[in-house]
Amino acid sequence: MKPPASRRTGHSRRAQYTQFGGYVLAAIGALLGAVLLAVSLWRPSSFNGLRGAAAEVTRPVGAASSVTRTSSLSLIENIRGYLRAGRQNDVLKREVEIARIRLAETDAVRQENARLKALLGLADREVRPIAVTRLIGSSASSARRFGYVGAGAHQGVTAGMPVRSPRGVVGRVFEVGPNSSRVLLLTDSESVLPVRRSTDNVVAFAEGRGDGRLRIRLVNLGINPLRVGDVFVTSGAGGFYRPGIAVAVLVEKAADGGIARLVADPASADFVSIEPVWQPVAAVAAQTPSTQPIDAAELAASPAAAETTE
């Protein structure tokens, strides 16, 4: 469409000033945006309050759309199930998949148990989730990978808590609002998670690549013992995640580790549970320089509030 004739302002001072003022405002807006961007890149937590408030407002819509999303997804799956070999087949397939993950996890737990018993004979505690909630959205159009969940400070969530789905680790709480929080997904390029192979003690770091897969970097370099299909579970190092939760399956080998696919794809995660930080003392200790004593007050205040990824 041709621009309206009002673009040519003629002799009207008022029209000329309005148009020129518009350009000036646009330039000021761009400048202001650049300044705010620089501030938020320099100190990523600067505008958390504002974003938290926005997330609160969009939360009900997110919850509703999450219900329709998951039910429409399962509808498609059901139709697919009928087309192939009936719905039962579909359900069984999912069960077998879960069972396979569980089996790998059990292997890891058994091995962990043996190790712990050998050390101290520590009894494993049952972990009660802080909150069970829906994954109400994600930054699906941004290069950063964040998810939004419908539980926040009112439910007792604090930054740093692990978020998991029935299948495995989804991410870690990054920012907390009153009733919603932002989760750093595992695939974000700033996310690093200590893992080990489920069958033995090969330890590695799982780093997000930003393309939906994880990069496994072995801690001990040399001969790469990994094989395609290896399952990685959390190792418990760093104190945030309790050990033995499924994380990823190796799909490609590389010189220093490999590339792995997520076990708990956030796209298929319906409900997620937010678990307490596994070892608050270890989490604080990991972030305190060795020259500095660990302060009891600091520990009590916010054990894992500091973000390690920044």
């Binding site: 041709k2 621009p3 309206p4 009002s6 673009r7 518009g22 350009y23 405002l25 646009a26 330039a27 000021i28 807006g29 761009a30 202001l32 945006g33 650049a34 705010l36 961007l37 620089a38 501030v39 938020s40 890149l41 600067s46 505008f47 974003r51 408030a53 926005a54 969009t58 819509v61 997110g62 759309s65 999303r69 994954l135 109400i136 959205g137 994600s138 930054s139 699906a140 159009s141 941004s142 290069a143 950063r144 990978r145 964040f146 998810g147 939004y148 932002r182 997904l185 695939t187 390029s189 700033e190 690549r209 930003g210 393309d211 939906g212 897969r213 997520l262 956030p266 796209a267 995660a269």
Partner: protein, 178 residues
């Protein structure tokens, strides 16, 4: 086909100034929220709907959105998009200024030219947003952006039709005069 009453009654009716302004603004804000709600993906996939709609409105209805509209609309997008605060404010403002400059040069365009302009803008927007996102974008990260970019550029004609429909809705004669 039976048409709706608000579309058929033309005598004694005028468009509502509230609707005329609110429809573009609300549609862009809603589109910003939409990209965060629809799916939780492991890799960036969805088009930045808010930005696509902003460009579609700007290209199809020059003079409707002021040159500075990129700032407030970008502010809202920053609140929900997960990008660092300020990224959309900067990029949306720059896009509005670029379109303003482009329009003085090429006032008459066909749809294909509009699509080309939008494609170039969307491509540079996605690349710039990824670079400014604070994520360390490596080669795999950039490759992961390709499907999103293609989907975004392919979605432009569809969203442009949506904007055209919204434009009719915006100027529908709903207000009774006299």
């Amino acid at each position: 086909m039976q048409r709706r009453a608000w579309a058929t009654r033309r005598i004694n009716r005028d468009h509502s100034p509230v609707l005329a302004l609110a429809v573009p603004v609300v549609s862009i804000l809603a589109a910003s929220v939409l990209s965060t709600l629809s799916v939780a993906t492991a890799a960036p996939l969805l088009p930045p709907f808010g930005f696509v709609l902003l460009i579609a409105w700007r290209l199809q209805r020059p003079g409707l959105l002021a040159a500075w509209a990129g700032f407030p609309l970008g502010l809202f997008d920053d609140l929900v998009s997960g990008q660092p605060f300020g990224s959309a404010m900067l990029l949306w403002s720059l896009a509005m200024i670029a379109l303003e400059a482009l329009e003085t040069r090429f006032p008459w365009r066909t749809f294909v030219q509009d699509w080309l302009i939008a494609g170039a803008l969307l491509l540079s927007y996605i690349a710039a947003a990824a670079l400014l996102s604070g994520a360390s974008v490596g080669v795999p990260g950039l490759i992961a952006l390709i499907p999103q970019t293609l989907l975004t550029i392919a979605s432009y004609p569809l969203l442009a039709r949506l904007v055209a429909w919204l434009d009719r809705l915006r100027l529908s004669r709903v207000r009774r005069i006299g």
